[in-house]
Subunit: 387 residues, 2 copies
């Protein structure tokens, strides 16, 4: 079609090991403290977005997972901010209307960081369409305006969101601590918990925490910065013991702050607690078996009951075998993602839970940042929606 520009990109999920909870500015999405995350591989968890713009489009339109949605305020902010940085030779495009089509290859809003992947992908794709110069414009700042943690999905590997100190947010940005090549043995196992209760949204929860939890203010002022430094050291040294201990303590403290909120926010449930118990028992078992490290697996939970377990390649098959035995499946495709050998576990010291407590399991590893893809567009070649 005459004048049609179309790009398709994929963006990754990230799971924080130092948690973001609490904004100092709601509109600009400026956090109370720094955070740090691991970018998971787009081969297994990803948002995909196609953006087309054309002089013939009558209005901006948005589809998510096959259904039309209105363009919300945060998307609008990202689009308008991106247009400010459009390249000279593409200036004309800023007058055209957009068609945006997105989908996730995992359950949206299941506590799997879908908004982080979605907004990172949207901003990265807008940058391709508008020819934005990444050397001049920090895409992490653009992505942050859509969803705070989205700024961390602009890079692969290990990513540090620096809260910044300015009121306008120009220094609240993400930087890469180390690429995915730094620690290729690191693995992440996502345990998707069944029967979720309706949760308080992250946005509402963190607002309520800021207003009511004294522990949150103490944590962000007095505890987080030291943990960021220790975590960066742990990553650079590939020190799994330090990485695991900080990760678990951070998860615990984030949920402690959620609980100190009034009324309290509960994100973990009894299945989450059983997962923590299993990880603790697994770590103790490995020490008994002669492991040279104190920890072999580390749990972390975001604002929902699903667990993300970090561990190293050497332990993946054994750990998964234990998980599958301890949390039996009622699903066929129970273990997804990276191919892993799951054997019938010979170790019988772990508790057996009722079948179906977990919906499914995704195995993945540290991955790269967003990428352009040349096929699998979500819009037809003429820019029309695929119905």
């Amino acid at each position: 079609m005459e004048g049609l520009v179309m790009k398709t990109c994929e963006g990754p999920v990230n799971i924080a090991v130092i948690k973001y909870w609490g904004k100092r500015n709601d509109e600009l999405i400026l956090p109370m403290n720094d955070s740090l995350s691991v970018t998971l591989h787009v081969d297994h968890l990803r948002s995909r977005t196609t953006i087309a713009c054309s002089p013939v489009f009558k209005e901006d339109e948005f589809w998510l997972n096959g259904k039309p949605f209105p363009i919300n305020e945060r998307m609008r902010t990202c689009i308008e901010e991106a247009k400010k940085h459009i390249s000279e030779e593409k200036k004309e495009l800023s007058k055209y209307k957009l068609r945006i089509c997105s989908e996730n290859n995992f359950a949206t809003a299941a506590g799997l960081a879908s908004s982080a992947a979605g907004f990172a992908c949207l901003v990265y794709c807008l940058a391709q369409v508008y020819g934005i110069d990444e050397k001049v414009v920090d895409l992490t700042i653009l992505a942050r305006r859509g969803s705070g943690s989205a700024c961390r999905s602009i890079y692969g590997g290990f990513v540090w969101w620096q809260k910044g100190t300015s009121d306008d947010g120009h220094d609240s940005k993400a930087v890469q601590v180390a690429s995915e090549a730094r620690w290729p043995e690191l693995r992440a196992v996502i345990l998707v918990v069944s029967h979720k209760q309706k949760d308080v949204s992250s946005k509402d929860g963190m607002k309520r925490s800021r207003e009511t939890s004294q522990l949150l203010h103490f944590r962000s002022k007095q505890i987080v910065q030291q943990r960021i430094e220790s975590m960066i050291k742990a990553i650079n040294a590939k020190d799994f013991d330090a990485f695991a201990e900080i990760t678990m303590k951070e998860s615990n403290q984030f949920h402690a702050v959620a609980l100190d909120t009034f009324p309290p926010c509960f994100y973990m449930n009894d299945v989450s607690r059983n997962v923590i118990d299993l990880v603790n028992k697994y770590n103790a078992y490995k020490v008994d078996m002669g492991s040279s490290t104190r920890y072999s697996a580390a749990y972390t939970f975001d604002a929902g009951p699903n667990a993300c377990i970090y561990l190293q390649d050497k332990d993946l098959s054994e750990f998964l075998s234990i998980i599958v035995s301890s949390f039996p499946s009622i699903e066929k495709e129970y273990v997804r993602g990276l191919p892993v050998e799951v054997v019938s576990s010979s170790v019988d010291i772990f508790p057996k839970h009722a079948p179906g407590a977990l919906d499914y399991i995704i195995c993945t590893k540290v991955g790269p940042g967003p990428r352009v893809i040349e096929s699998d567009h979500l819009l037809n070649p003429d820019g029309s929606f695929k119905v």
Copy 2:
């Protein structure tokens, strides 16, 4: 029997509204912060202890709930400390061996403050046997040596455990803020949760929190004292809104600290969360119905999943009817304690949970301190155990 002295006493349970968690001295049981509790009525929840001493007894012996147990170190401490204060005319008795027989009319170690009631009762009963002058000797300090929170069960009504500052613990004692007559309309409903998981004991949990939770240290230094002052004001003014809000925030924060501990301590489970949710919904419902107070009920949880709900007499029947409808019984004697009319609830806005989530319910009110009883001795008149 020649020379036999025998006394029987009853001691109450107390449930803290400002929580005790963390010791600054393990041996003397000196707490990191002040705490404040409500003494529940001995008519419904109580420890009973008979102590006999006689020149013919060959050794100290102890029976609990009908079974012989060794006298543990903390009991031994209470006995030895009590003997130091024996009255002049009873000096002879300090050479005699003791028979101690105790029982609770509620499940021991079910997270129902059995050790507080038990040690308060033991110390009070020792004071009767040994003729200790309560004007000279502070029994709350003696009881504290048995179990920290036991010092608060030495008084009825509303009781404040002042942490003290001295190293020898002579100023770490409980005082009565107001007697049970101050707020006769106050009620407490204990919801006993079924299927408890094995918990980390309070003793071990609070040690681990002190060693690993930065949030605990912040809380005890920076938050608790202000809450104590506000709570004392609330009690003196019979201000249920203030009482309820501090009570719920304290419960939340105590469990937040338990979760910030490493490895984390979980004391609430999904049923506890459902109870919190119901209390929040009930409070919102009452506001909708025109209640002049923001809160009509307040939850608090100790180191276990059981809930204690504080509310006022005027709401008791309605609230219980809602609880019984929301958490259906599989037990016959579901509601125990104070007689309350439970009607089939006409309000259908509260969630219905699976039958049997709660074991049973105890209704009670604010009550007096320990008392001597003249009948129902747990030992035979000759001092022998009832087998």
